[in-house]
């Protein structure tokens, strides 16, 4: 039992409850408390990374129930990595939001913190049904955040997003029911123990349940053909919300990594590596689709939203192949792409605020006031996202390519990733040259000056791609160890034997 594990859930929960009850307090007080909550969350996740880096699994059992019976939180390297990734993204989105994006809705900070709580539950939980609950918590907060700021343009994409995710939740419940009806357990470690022993018709039921679960996770991760809701929804959201949503697709990828390596891993008997042969071609098609969408985007936010889909494809291809090097490379790319995409959403919003009625459309418009600063940020973000040296995207893609060095998979992965990156570079250079260089004389009525918060947040997220390169050694050591831990789920099953009554530490 380790009580630190509840900190990333309790901190945003208590902070969020506080925000709910002080909707009419002065905005400066609400902002201070909200930022303090996010900073505390970041500190607690750093503590958890330090705890997790000794390669052991830590367990928190609610109500002190012996693991297969109660709900458990499990901390391993992957969970800690996802927690700190989210917390770092969240703090910069939050700093950006207090630059003015949080006005107009008294509950913005509350929703933001509840969203973080849902994300953290999803990363920590060791129970399939609790994962469903975590998805619902983060989804209902995201519905509110997506509609934040109002505007008629948001109601239709918001409606599509909600209907699609409710249908997804129904499928999730059906698959959970199918798996429970045969195995009689929803604890992931216990499932991993029972699934290899299944035979006959029970096997088919769990197989169908597992595949439906993959459909749900693919919907969350925006894998083709379930990705077309994403660009419209993200492009219409407020910038800090869109930037935070960069991690939402990664929740789907996290769930695929967790469930399909632990429950349907190599040891799962007849169900070993369920669905992974489907995932590889779909990931490559997703990547291609993302590049086509990025080339056709008519505004910067849509371009960045398609970049989210490109990164999903790039991430899932090595994960589907399942080698340790591939998973480690994918985790490195996960860090790089999430922060870069978040930064690019923020930069797109800053550009939009300086161009009057042209907003972030990729068209000729009068010059921006802070064009030098914004163009450098966009350049850094675009270079990191497209995967050009010397920034983190390049090293991440290089590691992904190096992880596959033989067979037809190599031909497919190398050609799709490299040609895709080339066309991504074209998409960014087209957008950047039109927005920043092809300008006309003229003036924009009341261009809003750049706030300090806003510049710091966007600059820091773009700068993280430099930090990732500088710290590439220790970070790739961490991701290597994470991949090794994920591929050796035997130790995870030991949590079932943790004594609950006397063995408290």
């Amino acid at each position: 039992m380790n009580h630190w594990l509840t900190a990333p859930i309790l901190i945003p929960l208590l902070g969020g409850i506080l925000q709910v009850f002080m909707g009419y307090a002065p905005i400066s007080l609400r902002r201070t408390l909200a930022i303090a909550t996010t900073v505390l969350l970041l500190v607690s996740t750093i503590v958890l990374v330090a705890l997790a880096s000794d390669d052991s699994y830590r367990l928190y059992a609610f109500g002190n129930w012996q693991p297969p019976f109660g709900i458990v939180l499990v901390l391993d390297r992957l969970a800690a990595l996802m927690l700190v990734l989210t917390a770092i993204l969240a703090i910069f989105c939050h700093i950006f939001a207090i630059g003015g994006a949080d006005e107009g809705n008294r509950q913005f900070h509350g929703l933001f913190l509840f969203q973080l709580m849902g994300l953290n539950i999803a990363f920590l939980t060791g129970d399939l049904f609790n994962l469903f609950v975590a998805f619902e918590v983060l989804l209902i907060a995201s519905y509110g955040l997506l509609m934040h700021g109002g505007g008629r343009a948001r109601s239709v994409p918001g409606l599509h997003y909600v209907v699609l995710n409710l249908a997804g939740s129904a499928v999730f419940l059906i698959s959970v029911g199918m798996i429970y009806s045969v195995t009689g357990t929803l604890n992931m470690a216990d499932l991993a123990l029972r699934i290899p022993d299944l035979t006959g018709e029970n096997l088919s039921i769990v197989k169908a349940g597992g595949m439906m679960l993959l459909v749900v996770f693919a919907l969350k991760a925006a894998l083709i053909p379930l990705c077309f809701w994403l660009p419209k929804a993200y492009a219409n959201a407020t910038a800090p919300v869109a930037a935070l949503f960069a991690v939402m697709t990664k929740v789907g990828i996290y769930a695929i990594l967790r469930v399909y390596l632990l429950v349907f891993g190599d040891d799962a008997g007849a169900l070993a590596n369920l669905g992974m042969d489907w995932l590889f071609p779909l990931a490559l098609i997703t990547l291609t689709m993302g590049v086509i969408g990025a080339l056709g985007a008519d505004n910067l936010k849509t371009l960045v939203a398609w970049q989210v889909i490109i990164s999903v494809g790039t991430l899932l291809a090595p994960i589907a192949l399942g080698s340790a090097a591939g998973i480690s490379a994918a985790l490195f790319y996960l860090l790089s792409s999430t922060w870069t995409v978040g930064g690019l959403f923020l930069v797109a919003e800053m550009v939009a605020n300086q161009r009057g009625s042209a907003k972030d459309k990729i068209v000729t418009a009068p010059r921006m006031r802070n064009r030098t600063f914004l163009s450098v940020l966009f350049l850094v973000g675009a270079v990191a996202a497209a995967g050009l040296p010397p920034l983190s995207g390049f090293f991440a893609k290089l590691l992904i390519l190096q992880s596959v060095l033989s067979g037809s998979e190599m031909a497919w992965l190398w050609s799709v990733v490299l040609i895709g990156s080339f066309f991504t570079v074209i998409a960014y250079s087209r957008a950047g040259s039109i927005v920043f260089w092809r300008t006309v004389d003229g003036h924009i009525e009341e261009p809003r000056p750049l706030g300090g918060n806003v510049s710091v947040a966007a600059g820091a997220l773009a700068g993280l791609s430099v930090v990732l390169v500088a710290l590439a050694g220790p970070i790739s050591e961490f991701t290597d160890a994470t991949a090794a831990q994920l591929l050796n789920p035997g130790d995870y099953l030991e949590i079932l034997k943790t004594p609950m009554v006397k063995g408290d530490n």
Binding site: F129, Y143, S155, V156, L159, A167, Y180
Partner: protein, 122 residues
């Protein structure tokens, strides 16, 4: 009882999927509600169907699995909240676009043409 139960789940889900594929928001909301009824019944049946059995061990000879009941309770609460939110969102969309089509307008090209001045006018 198994046959009736299966037929009810099937009928609810089939009607729900049919309504979900309609182009107006009201049938979509009703469709999602029907699907969630079907899903809740399915989840309930995953603990096996038993009559006259208690979910407490040792009180009777035959007992029933209490866990699916807890799962269904959670699913009902979440589904109810989500449906309430969806109804509000559908009303908002109706008020914004003066049309209850799921795309805000029947003709896709007309939608993009009418939305452009609104986006810039904000």
């Amino acid at each position: 009882m198994e046959l009736v139960f299966a037929l009810v789940i099937g009928a609810l889900t089939a009607s729900g999927v049919y309504l979900l594929l309609r182009a107006r928001t009201f049938p979509v909301v009703v469709g999602l509600t029907l699907i969630s009824y079907g899903v809740n019944l399915f989840l309930f049946s995953s603990g096996r169907l038993a009559t006259g059995a208690q979910p407490i061990l040792g009180t009777t000879g035959s007992y029933t699995d209490p866990l699916p009941q807890a799962l269904v309770l959670t699913a009902i609460v979440i589904g109810f909240a989500m449906t309430a939110f969806l109804v509000v969102l559908a009303l908002r969309s109706l008020a914004d676009h003066e049309d209850d089509h799921v795309d805000g307008h029947q003709d896709i090209h007309a939608t993009s043409a009418t939305q452009k001045p609104e986006e810039t006018g904000k």
